[in-house]
Amino acid sequence: MTETTYRDAIRQALLDAMQADPSVILIGEEVGLYGGAYGVTKGLIDLFGPDRVIDAPISEAAIVGAAVGAAMTGLRPVAELMYVDFIGMTMDQLANQAAKSRYMFGGQIGVPMVLRTQGGTGRSAAAQHSQSLEAWVLHTPGLRLIMPATVNDAYHLLRQSLTQSDPVVFIEHKGLYTMKGALDVDMPDGPWGQPVTRRKGRDLVIISYSRMLHESLAAADRLAASGVEAEVIDLRCLNPMDDAPLIEAVKRTGRAMVVTEAVVTGSVASEIAARLGEVCFDWLEEPVLRVGGEDIPIPVSPALERGSIPSATLIHDTALWLVTRKAPTWAA
C-alpha cells in the first residue's frame, strides 16, 4: 500500500505490464523521448527501448490502425491518443476495424489492444482539447470502455485491460493526473467489469465516473451535513456495462441521479437513466435525473469552461431538491 498519484499509478501499470509481458508495446505521439504530453510514460523508453516504446508521427488514424494490426499478429499494443478529442480521426479504425474484426471474421481474429487517452475540462484548452466523448465508444459493440476515477483503479483497471482479448478504450481524465491516493498493487477496488460503491447511503443513489465521481462524493459529504445520505456508485467499466449493482441500489433507495462531464444529450447518463427507468420503474419515487455538461462546445474562458460542467454544488443542490423537495436558489 503506497501513496502515489493517478499519473504515476498509470505509469506503474504500464511498467509492470511491460515487465510481465514482452508482447506489450506502446505506440503514440510523444510517448517516448518526451515522456507523454502529461508525463505518464516518462522514462519508459529508457527501460524498454524504441522498439517497444514507439514515438509515432502525428497520424492518429494510422496509429490506431497499426495497433490493430499489431494486436492481430501477437503483440499487445497500447496505442495512445494524446487527447480523446482526436478520436474523430480514428473512429473508422476503432469502430469499423478494431471493434468488428472478431465478429466479421467469425471469431477467428481478435484485437487485444488498449487505446489509452485522456479527456475532460479544466485547463482552458478550449473546444478541441476538453471533450468527453465516451458516448461514441459506448455505442460501439465490440469495444470495452474503461474510465478510472481513483489511483488504485488507474493501476488495476489498466493492468486488467492488458489481459483482455478484445479492444479496450481506456480514458483517463486530465484533471486527475496530479490527484494523490492509495495504491495497493495486490488489491483492486473491485472485480473487473463491475461498478463499485464508493459511499453507502439510503436516501438516493448518485451514479458517476471519472472526475465527476469526486464532485459527486464532495456533494454527498455536504448532503450528509443536511441529513441526506447519498449512495455514490463509480461505474469504472462502462461498456459492456454491468448494471445489476445500479439496479439493486436504485430499487433500495427509490431515487437516482446520473452525473457526467460530457454533453448531456446522448450521453452515458442518458443510457443509464433509460435503463433504470425501464427496470426500476416500480421502485422509483422520483424521476432518474441526469446532471451533465451543457449542450455546447467547451469555451476557452476559464469562467465559462467551469460554468459549462457540473460542480459539487450543482450536484448537491439537485440531490437535495430531489430528496427534500427544497428548491435551490438557481431554480428557475
Binding site: P57, A62, A66, L75, R102, G107, D282
Partner: protein
C-alpha cells in the same frame, strides 16, 4: 541447380501461376452464377476478373507471411491458398464459410493462411500491415505483411500515414496497389492529380515498382525483388497496372465507359497472355492447358454446389464473436424486454 533444372523449375512455376489464375477466374465466374441464382448474401460482390496477375505477388510471398485485402480480394486469397468451397460458402452467408456467414465477400479472413481480413472500407486494411510489420520486426521472425488495395485507396490519407511509418521504422511490409483503372465509375485520371503512383510512394521513402498487369511473370519479377527488400527492412510499393473487365459490382453495367475502351482493356488479359507465352515457348501444350482449365472449372462447380447446399447460421449465433469466448455475450433484446415486462419481476 543446373541451368536446365532452373529453367525446368521456372517453367513448372509459370504453369502453376497459369493454373492459379485460371482457378481465380473460374471461381469469380461461379460467384456471378451464385448471385444470378439468388444464392449470394447480397449483391456487393466484386469480381477480380482481369486482375489475376496479382498471383505474381501472392506467389512471391512465403508461408507465414500475412496480408490484408480490399473488397475485391477473392483472387488474392485464392492466390494464397484459400479453399474455394469455404470461400463460396462465406459469400453465400453460410455457417461453414470462412467467417461463419457473418462476414461475406467483403470480410473474408483466415488466420491459418495469414489472411488478416478483407475490408469494406477503402484503405481500411492498409495500416494493419504496419502493425504486423512491427510484430515481425520486433520478433525478428523474417515474415512480411502485404496490403492489397485498389487505385481508389490512393486517395485515402491513411495510406500515406502508413507508408511514412513503414519507411520511418524500416518495416518488413509491401503496399500492393492493384490499379484496375477505376474506382466504381471514376477512372484514375478523374481521381488523381498526378497518376504516377510509384512517385508518391518514393516520396515517402519506399522502394517502388510498376508492373504490367497483363504479364504475371513481370509482376512476379517485380514482386520478388520488393519482397526480398522488405524482408531486410526496406519496405516497398508495387503498382499492378491492370483493367477491371466487368462492372464495379454485380449491379453495375459500366455505362460510364465506352465499348471500345472495354475491348482494349479486356485485350490485356493476363490469362491469354500467359497461355500464349507458355505454348509459344513450348512449356506446355494447348491440350495440357485445356486440361488445367477443365480441372479448374470442375473444382469451382463443386464449390458452387457446396455453397448452395450449405446451411445458414443458426439465429442465436448472431450474439457470438462480439467479444472473446468466456466473456458474456450481449443480452438479446427479447430477454431485456421480458425482464422488464414479465409479471414476476414487477413489484
Amino acid at each position: 541447380m543446373t541451368l536446365v533444372q532452373t529453367i525446368a523449375a521456372a517453367n513448372t512455376a509459370a504453369v502453376g501461376r497459369y493454373r492459379t489464375m485460371r482457378r481465380i477466374r473460374s471461381f469469380e465466374e461461379r460467384v456471378g452464377e451464385l448471385f444470378l441464382k439468388g444464392e449470394s448474401a447480397g449483391s456487393m460482390l466484386h469480381l477480380s476478373i482481369g486482375e489475376e496477375a496479382v498471383v505474381g505477388m501472392t506467389e512471391a510471398m512465403q508461408p507465414g507471411d500475412t496480408f490484408t485485402t480490399h473488397h475485391r480480394g477473392h483472387g488474392v486469397f485464392l492466390g494464397r491458398g484459400a479453399d474455394p468451397a469455404r470461400m463460396m460458402a462465406e459469400i453465400a452467408g453460410k455457417q461453414d464459410g470462412y467467417c461463419r456467414g457473418k462476414g461475406g465477400s467483403m470480410h473474408i479472413a483466415d488466420r491459418a493462411l495469414g489472411h488478416l481480413g478483407a475490408n469494406a472500407i477503402v484503405g481500411g486494411g492498409i495500416p494493419h500491415i504496419v502493425g504486423a510489420g512491427i510484430s515481425y520486426r520486433n520478433a525478428g521472425s523474417g515474415q512480411i505483411s502485404v496490403a492489397f488495395f485498389g487505385d481508389g485507396a490512393m486517395s485515402q490519407g491513411i495510406l500515406y500515414e502508413s507508408m511514412n511509418m513503414a519507411a520511418l521504422w524500416r518495416l518488413p511490409v509491401v503496399f500492393c496497389c492493384i490499379n484496375n483503372q477505376y474506382g466504381m465509375g471514376t477512372r484514375v485520371d478523374r481521381s488523381a492529380g498526378n497518376r504516377d503512383f510509384p512517385a508518391r510512394a518514393a516520396a515517402f521513402g519506399l522502394k517502388t515498382a510498376r508492373a504490367d498487369g497483363a504479364d504475371v511473370e513481370a509482376v512476379h519479377d517485380a514482386a520478388r525483388a520488393l519482397t526480398m527488400d522488405a524482408r531486410d527492412g526496406r519496405p516497398g510499393f508495387l503498382e499492378i497496372d491492370a483493367y477491371r473487365f466487368f462492372g464495379h459490382a454485380r449491379m453495375d453495367k459500366s455505362p460510364y465507359r465506352s465499348a471500345q475502351e472495354e475491348a482494349e482493356g479486356r485485350a490485356r488479359d493476363p490469362l491469354a497472355h500467359a497461355r500464349n507465352r507458355i505454348t509459344a515457348e513450348g512449356i506446355a501444350t494447348e491440350a495440357e492447358l485445356g486440361g488445367i482449365d477443365a480441372d479448374a472449372g470442375a473444382e469451382m462447380d463443386l464449390a458452387l454446389t457446396h455453397a448452395i447446399a450449405a446451411q445458414p447460421p443458426a439465429l442465436a449465433t448472431m450474439f457470438e464473436d462480439v467479444y472473446a469466448p468466456g466473456s458474456p455475450a450481449p443480452r438479446p433484446q427479447a430477454a431485456r424486454l421480458s425482464a422488464i415486462l414479465s409479471e414476476g419481476v414487477r413489484a
